[in-house]
């Protein structure tokens, strides 16, 4: 269970982690500056289990993997958005940041609402408003990738099988 941090449409990776911090790669350092150009309070106040809510085209712009790394290291449980930019989508799955696509949840969750997510089933409960949403299921290949724990273990397993 965690609190919802709500952001708008087209949240770009420059906002998620500005390039002025890309001279370092440690997840903790990146997390300390996560989302700061959109909301200075986020990095300071985010708690483990909190949820980021984005609108359409979340993670657009630069391919920097530092963006999902920063979010993951902020200890958020998942990102829920209406839609994702494609490079961010790949990067999030590759590094094991849970992302859910659910336009209904995006419009049905307000900033600060208490949210519970079942990542296995994609069920999203808004405990504050007493509503439930179902995220879109991932295509089978992505499910395999997620189950393996990201791209590196997935490729390693395939190599071993071969």
């Amino acid at each position: 269970m965690g609190k919802a941090w709500k952001f708008g449409n087209d949240i770009d990776t420059d906002v998620i982690i500005p390039a002025r911090y890309l001279n370092q790669t440690t997840p903790e350092f990146l997390a300390a500056h996560c989302m700061e150009d959109a909301d200075m309070a986020f990095a300071k106040e985010v708690q483990p289990g909190d949820v980021i809510i984005g609108g359409k085209n979340f993670g657009c712009g630069s391919s920097r993997e530092h963006a999902p790394i920063a979010i993951k290291a902020s200890m958020v449980k998942a990102v829920i958005a209406e839609s994702y930019a494609r490079i961010f989508y790949r990067n999030a799955l590759n590094i094991g940041l849970p992302i859910l696509e659910c336009p209904e949840a995006v419009s049905g969750i307000a900033a600060g609402d208490e949210i519970q997510i079942d990542l296995e089933t994609g069920k999203i409960d808004n405990l504050t408003q007493n509503t439930t949403f179902q995220a879109r299921p991932f295509p089978p290949f992505m499910q395999e990738l997620i189950k393996a724990g990201g791209l590196i273990p997935y490729v390693q397993r395939r190599k071993k099988d071969a």
Binding site: D10, D12, D14, V15, P18, A19, R20, L22, N23, Q24, T25, E36, D37, A38, K56, N57, C60, G61, S62, S63, R64, E65, H66, P68, I69, S83, A85, R86, I87, R90, N91, N94, I95, P139, F141, G150, L151, I152, V155, Q156, K159
Partner: protein, 421 residues
């Protein structure tokens, strides 16, 4: 059913006769590239594979271009990690400062990105290479690490959107940058999300290679997977003295299927300016006229090529940069730098009162070499005008092509070139 150029390239690299949009494939890579920001993250992921070797040391490019010449100790460590890896694995396409350039200017110039290639790059503007008829797309560091280890990457075959540009009667000073800003203004920053953008028509045939690079470069700003232009005579002559290996030219079939087809008359497209904070906020330069500016940048992987510098010099010749303006000119590669110098373009820039910098991505991403203070406003030939992109989160970036940038630097406010000539 016929296939698009993108589908044909992907099919050939997946060992298939045909592919359809939505299909998941594993494709063989002709090139995998990274820079000094994304490379070190990819290298540490690569090392997790526990492999001794990259799949092919000739098919990897590592380009230290973002924070170079290194701006601080932390960025020097990033470059060092890239350099150490490049030496250890004898990476053929690695350049030190003094030889390096902005990756998406440098690799095509060196004939490393060729028609029919499948290219992944840990940099979102990898889509630039579509201008030579390659399938090229941006990925993250982990995808790049897997690519360096296995020589393959998985893709969902994208649907293609076709953009047909009719006519060749361009308005004066309009370039590829204006065309792509115009399109993004029409379809939005997610208008081509997950899709291939195919540019075609007499208007594209009339464009120089440098303008085609600018167009394909910004396909990502519409959310696209790749931008692509089928090779023609101009492409082949550009490659004639450059291509370091054989290549195959693909073109779309007449009966290929498209998600959408947009048609434009080039004569209808005015010079463009994209307002903060999204590239989709594109308007005509007339609508932006009079907006006061603090700093102007001419450069980047979008507009740091020789044609861009020539256009800027043509406007700046014999003129002075406005006293309130800092104009920063950044050639994309050492070759472009040298050519521009030989042509006397630097005399024009320096006499006008501009900075001429060594090649670097620098200010485009708010890295170094021209960071904005709170409340400052830039006009830039770069590709992104997101919040905080060039510096302080309360600074602003307007995007344009080189002609508007040069004219505005003289006037001190956003201006049409006619106003200063």
């Amino acid at each position: 059913m016929g296939m698009t150029i993108t589908e044909k390239i992907l099919a050939s690299h997946a060992g298939l006769d045909e592919v359809v949009p939505g299909q998941l494939i594993s494709a063989k890579l002709d090139l995998a590239l990274a820079n000094d920001i994304t490379g070190p993250v990819a290298i540490s992921e690569f090392e997790k594979f526990g492999m001794d070797k990259v799949f092919d040391s000739k098919k990897i490019a590592l380009v230290p271009d973002h924070f170079t010449p290194n701006k601080d100790i932390a960025s020097a460590e990033l470059s060092k990690a890239l350099r150490t890896f490049a030496r250890k694995h004898q990476i053929e396409h690695y350049w030190e400062q003094g030889r390096v350039g902005i990756e998406h200017c440098l690799l095509p110039e060196q004939g490393i990105t060729l028609p029919g290639d499948v290219i992944i790059g840990a940099d979102s503007h990898t889509c630039t290479y579509g201008a030579v008829g390659a399938f090229a797309t941006g990925v993250g560091s982990t995808d790049l690490a897997a690519g360096m280890a296995t020589g393959e990457a998985w893709f969902r075959v994208p649907e293609t959107i076709k953009f047909v540009f009719n006519g060749t009667d361009y308005q004066p000073w309009v370039s590829g940058k204006d065309l792509i800003l115009y399109i993004i203004g029409k379809i939005g920053v997610d208008g081509a999300r997950y899709c291939a953008m195919e540019f075609t028509g007499a208007g594209i045939e009339a464009l120089s290679m440098d303008s085609r690079f600018s167009m394909c470069n910004m396909a990502i700003e519409a959310g696209a997977k790749n931008g692509i232009i089928a090779p023609d005579e101009k492409t082949l002559s550009y490659l004639e003295s450059r291509a370091g290996r054989p290549y195959k030219v693909y073109t779309s079939d007449a009966d290929a299927s498209y998600r959408d087809v947009f048609e434009f008359n080039v004569s209808d497209i005015p010079l463009q300016v994209a307002f903060p904070h999204l590239p989709e906020n594109a308007k005509s330069v007339q609508e932006a006229a009079g907006i006061k500016i603090d700093q102007i940048v001419i450069g980047s992987c979008t507009n740091g090529r020789l044609e861009d510098l020539r256009v800027a010099a043509q406007i700046l010749r014999g003129k002075k940069v406005h006293s309130d303006i800092r104009l920063i000119v950044i050639p994309g590669t050492q070759q472009i730098y040298k050519d521009a110098m030989k042509e006397g373009l630097f005399d024009i820039f320096i006499d006008a009162g501009a900075v001429v910098s060594t090649p670097t991505c620098g200010p485009c991403l708010g890295g170094h070499m021209g960071i904005l203070a709170k409340g400052e406003r830039a006009l830039s030939t770069t590709n992104r005008n997101f919040v905080g992109r060039m510096g302080h989160p309360e600074s602003e970036v307007y995007l344009c092509g080189p002609a508007v940038a040069a004219a505005s630097s003289v006037k001190g406010e956003i201006s049409h070139p006619e106003e200063v000539l």
